[in-house]
């Protein structure tokens, strides 16, 4: 295993080249095919009637005004539709030997609503605007019940209960430990402790959700802006009782998801059921307001973390208790997501002893589930900030402390005390390269000079390892952590008679660029140009079954399946070529897109010639060679893959106002050999931007009564290009032994790495002012308050988190625009 400098290409192949995305020309010239571009004749429109209450009994629903409208076809409640459902919406984590309190979750609420936005009725009509007006006319009488929004308050005796039947708001407890943590803490020279709040965020894709269910004959096709067409077909079949073969799910171009389209949502099920009932296509396009309120949020946990270390800087153990706010219902994996950080909870470090406890809590909010990183950003945030805290306590350089505890590259594969085997790594290598690019000494000199002038700059680091390549089925499935699913992936490669290829993948990309990357992988193995390799995905009627796209799995699992299927095609092509050229198959080699006889480069065929022979043989093929040129691979990985890297953030803090500006952001990521460095850069840029959003800007806030306060992009402060620096990305390449490509994933790496780097940079900048801790998001007010508190000023920070935060707010919108209906004159 070696760490190599960033290579541009390998041989004359296409893998390794920074090729522009094949899919971009259509997308950036408005010729994409997104869900709202699809129009089917006779389409009916859907709009949901949603609860304005966080917790209430539904006393009555008066549909009459809506039903009287000429453009309304019907208004349906849970009572009207329950006969159409074979089962409630599933949650698929069923850990062996453990209870998870699991409430029934139906597409429409019946009896009680549990969060703001809970759907109580669906209006179907002929006009897109009319159904929204009609939904406003459905009169629902509610009897409000006490709501609980703070997960720690929800665990206290006497708290209102989200689900009475469990007698508690606690959903489950899950723990895992390795080594001897008690002994590590007993023998420690220093112990540092911290309570960290990792607040709730939104996926906020630019395209909201939406779907069209189209009933034709005895089949229904659901077009949906989803990440998971295959899983959706399986789940919708379970919920509706429609056999899987009578159901087709298609994901057209999908305009971003970041995890937020990883679930099967109530609206998709309702569209299918009502399209079947009414015999016409039913279309629903989510509004931005709905997207903020009724798509799962991410993070939202409180972490109690203790680290133990020896005087010489050896970190000997950690104890973590996570309290995770799961919201009111479960989506597919809601209670499992907080635990997803556990495989890398020892970080890049030896950390021989560890004890992790996770508790889930019901609150009257929308459920949490997987948002980019899912569990790993939270773990990385506490690990990296606690490593800094240990260094501070010991008076050591935090980078030296990291180096001292890094798992050295010679020790890979490395099995952690949690019995997780890190596949490959060179943690010193990425950190060294990062520091070269940063020039830390020059920065420290500049920092000191600027401080003289009252300018506060700081630098923060994050050295991370993450786990992706979901997933070895035996590790995650029923025989592993208990997910009722699997993690393998499929690919089918078909070469046409004229020698162009089509790759069918079971993954379902939604912005990542797999049309390009997969074409490069296949092209090299088929002797073709990527321009002549079309990649088809996201349609359950095309290609083999697959497990879709999430968790940075697509390349390491789906890409490997493509490589294997293409390799099989190549092997068959060689046999056909050998037969045609009267040579032995083992003497055929693929060189410069030619299949040639070893030692006789003049005796060579192109893939087009071979494909022609495979389909329309000019002479008889040997009896043991079937006609056609098409192969399928199902690939179940042996292990996860563990990308890693080192990130640095340089910030300048305006100490008079508390505003943070990012001056530089540097990353060195290692996701194995690059298939396409440009795609990697794109993923790192977006991933880091996502984490900068959480660190400095974004927060989903519910007030004490459970009202969503951040319901628009005015108040949910998604950063734009104007807030972000020019990213300085770099890479090392340490191959993974897990797959033949040597690749790992990179879609979530930036998001997992960046929040502690940004946070640590701000704390470094403010160290001279006495600021020792900051919880995200580092808003100007929160930073200013921390400075005031550290300086002994009067307006120190009250604990600013979630609902408690609102004590100090009037609760108004951050812009004064969309707050009231009164406005004068022209606008």
């Amino acid at each position: 295993m070696s760490t190599v400098e960033q290579p541009a290409t390998r041989g004359d192949g296409f893998v390794g080249r920074a090729m522009k995305r094949k899919e971009d020309p259509r997308m950036i010239t408005g010729r994409g095919n997104y869900i709202d571009d699809l129009a089917l004749p006779g389409t009916l429109w859907a709009a949901l009637v949603r609860s304005p209450e966080a917790h209430a009994k539904i006393v009555s629903i008066d549909k009459s005004a809506a039903e009287e409208r000429s453009d309304v076809v019907g208004v349906f409640t849970h009572e009207d539709l329950k006969g159409d459902f074979a089962a409630p919406m599933p949650m698929v984590w069923d850990p062996p030997g453990m209870e998870v309190n699991t409430p029934e979750h139906w597409p429409l609420a019946g009896g009680e609503v549990k969060h703001v936005g809970d759907p109580v009725a669906i209006v179907i009509g002929t006009d897109r605007y009319g159904v929204v007006d009609a939904a406003e006319g459905v009169i629902v009488e509610y009897e409000p019940l006490p709501a609980v929004v703070d997960p720690e308050a929800a665990l206290e005796d006497g708290s209102p209960l989200v689900w009475e039947q469990f007698g508690t708001n606690k959903t489950h407890e899950w723990s895992i430990a390795g080594g001897d943590v008690e002994a590590a803490f007993a023998d420690a020279d220093v112990v540092v402790k911290q309570r960290l709040v990792n607040h709730r965020t939104a996926g906020a894709p630019i395209e909201t959700r939406g779907c069209i269910a189209d009933p034709r004959g005895d089949r229904v096709t659901l077009y949906s802006a989803t990440q998971i067409p295959h899983i959706a077909r399986f789940v919708i079949s379970l919920v509706t009782g429609i056999p899987e073969d009578k159901l087709r799910v298609v994901a057209p171009d999908v305009g971003g998801a970041f995890g937020s389209k990883i679930n099967v949502f109530a609206e998709e099920v309702l569209a299918v059921v009502l399209a079947r009932r009414l015999g016409r296509p039913v279309k629903w396009i989510e509004s931005r307001s709905e997207n903020m309120a009724v798509v799962h949020h991410g993070r939202d946990q409180i972490d109690y973390v203790e680290f133990a270390a020896k005087r010489d800087g050896t970190v000997t153990g950690c104890r973590v208790r996570v309290v995770a706010d799961l919201g009111a219902y479960y989506l597919q994996l809601t209670p499992w997501i907080p635990q997803l950080g556990f495989p890398v909870a020892t970080g890049c470090y030896r950390m021989p002893n560890i004890d992790l406890k996770f508790e889930g809590v019901f609150t009257n909010k929308f459920p949490t589930d997987a948002i980019r990183g899912a569990g790993r950003p939270e773990a990385t945030h506490w690990i990296e900030l606690m490593i800094n805290k240990v260094a501070e306590e010991l008076g050591m350089d935090p980078l030296e402390l990291r180096r001292k505890n890094f798992i050295p590259k010679e020790e890979f594969p490395f099995t952690t005390p949690l019995e997780i085997t890190y596949d490959s790594g060179d943690y010193h290598g990425t950190l060294d390269k990062l520091l070269q690019n940063l020039d830390l000494d020059a920065f420290r000199r500049e920092q000191a000079e600027l401080r003289e002038r009252g300018v506060y700059r700081g630098v923060g680091f994050s050295t991370y390892v993450e786990v992706c390549g979901l997933a070895p089925s035996r590790a995650v499935g029923p025989q592993g952590v208990g997910i009722q699913g699997a993690g393998w992936e499929s690919a089918m490669v078909r070469v046409s008679p004229s020698g162009t290829a089509t790759v069918y993948t079971g993954t379902s990309p939604h912005g990542q660029g797999h049309d390009t990357g997969f074409a490069q992988i296949a092209a090299d193995r088929l002797g073709l140009d990527p321009e002549n390799v079309e990649v088809i995905h996201g349609d359950t009627d095309q290609g083999p079954w697959g497990w879709d796209t999430y968790g940075s799995r697509t390349l390491a699992v789906g890409g490997e399946a493509v490589a294997r299927a293409a390799q099989k095609v190549q092997a068959k092509a060689k046999r056909i070529c050998a037969a045609m050229l009267e040579a032995a198959p083992e003497d055929i080699e693929l060189v410069d897109n030619k299949f040639q006889v070893r030692g006789s480069p003049d005796k060579a065929w192109t893939m087009a010639e071979i494909a022609g022979a495979a389909h329309i043989p000019p002479q008889e093929l040997p009896a043991d060679i079937e006609p056609g040129l098409e192969e399928t691979s199902f690939y179940d990985p042996e292990n996860f893959v563990f990308p890693f890297g080192a990130h640095a953030c340089v910030v300048e803090v305006d100490a008079d106002t508390g505003k943070v500006d990012i001056v530089r952001y540097l990353s060195v990521d290692d996701c194995g050999p690059a298939i396409n460095p440009m795609l990697i850069d794109g993923q790192v840029h977006g991933g880091v931007a996502h984490a900068i959003g959480q660190a400095l800007y974004e927060q989903v806030i519910y007030d004490e009564s459970g009202q969503l306060v951040t319901g628009t992009f005015v108040d949910y402060a998604l950063p734009t290009a104007a807030e972000l620096p020019s990213f300085e990305t770099d890479r090392t390449e340490t191959p993974s032994p897990v797959n033949t490509l040597g690749v790992k994933g990179v879609g979530e790496a930036g998001t997992i790495a960046a929040s502690p780097a940004v946070t640590a940079a701000v704390m470094d900048a403010l160290k001279p002012l006495g600021v020792t801790w900051l919880d995200m998001p580092l808003t100007p007010m929160r930073v200013w308050q921390a400075i005031q508190e550290a300086q002994g000023g009067g307006d120190g920070p009250r604990r600013t988190e979630q609902a408690r935060d609102l004590d100090e707010h009037a609760g108004g919108s951050a812009g004064s625009g969309p707050t009231g209906p009164e406005e004068g004159g022209a606008s």
Binding site: P719, T720, M781, A810, G817, E823, G824, G825, A826
Partner: protein, 281 residues
Amino acid sequence: MIPAEFDYEAPESLEEAIRMLHENGEDAKLLAGGHSLLPLMKLRLAAPTVLIDLRRIPGLHGIQRENGSWRLGPMTRHADLQDAQELGVVARAASLIADQQVRNRGTIGGSLAHGDPASDLPTVLLATEGEVTARGTGGQRTIAAADLFQDFLTTSLAHDEVITEVRLPAMDGYGFGYEKFTRRAEDWAMVGVCALVKKADDGSCEDVRIGLTHMASTPLRASAAEEALRGQGLDAESIARAAEQAAEGTEPPGDLNATPDYKRHLARTLTGRALREAAGL
């Protein structure tokens, strides 16, 4: 994000627009750039039944200098103001409104009539002591900035009045600064400060105007700070002393981004910065 049903009119004369406003009563709204009104309608926080678009009415655009004042057509876009550097603080404030797409559509008349205390141009009108001319069924009248902004999103314009002209003193001889504090570049001001400073021949402060954005339900003048600086030397200390008075008497509403205390702190800090720039320090 679908508004409630409404009718749309695009009259070709001012008289027609006024008549439509009058006939439709409170249910009618004027449409200029639409970048405040339409988002409210899409969120169904506003539901006018008739929109009267001003775009076809002649004579509502343009920037003209006249007798020491700038005459601005109410339909002049923020982008045009931003490009007219001779407008000084008006151009500066306009350049900081939201993003370029909004500036390409939003108009000064719309911004003033909307009366949003978090908007920038109302503060500039107040600090420069400008005025608007309005016409309605009752005839034409001139409203001074100090009388225009009444409350949160409420102006003294009658329901059937249309702003026909915005007039701002040219403020020749004044230096200016506009400090806008936001979390993101495109946001409304958490607090904004417009400062105008005229130096006397001896270098002291002959006149000073300080306008505050988003410190109350209307734009405000920071009169205590103005008092503290007028007639004083224009140095760092006197400006700092004046800036300390910037939040005097204010009771800003808190919101998600800022408590009242923090807003008062920002007003003082930004006033210092804006005054220093205006004084050329």
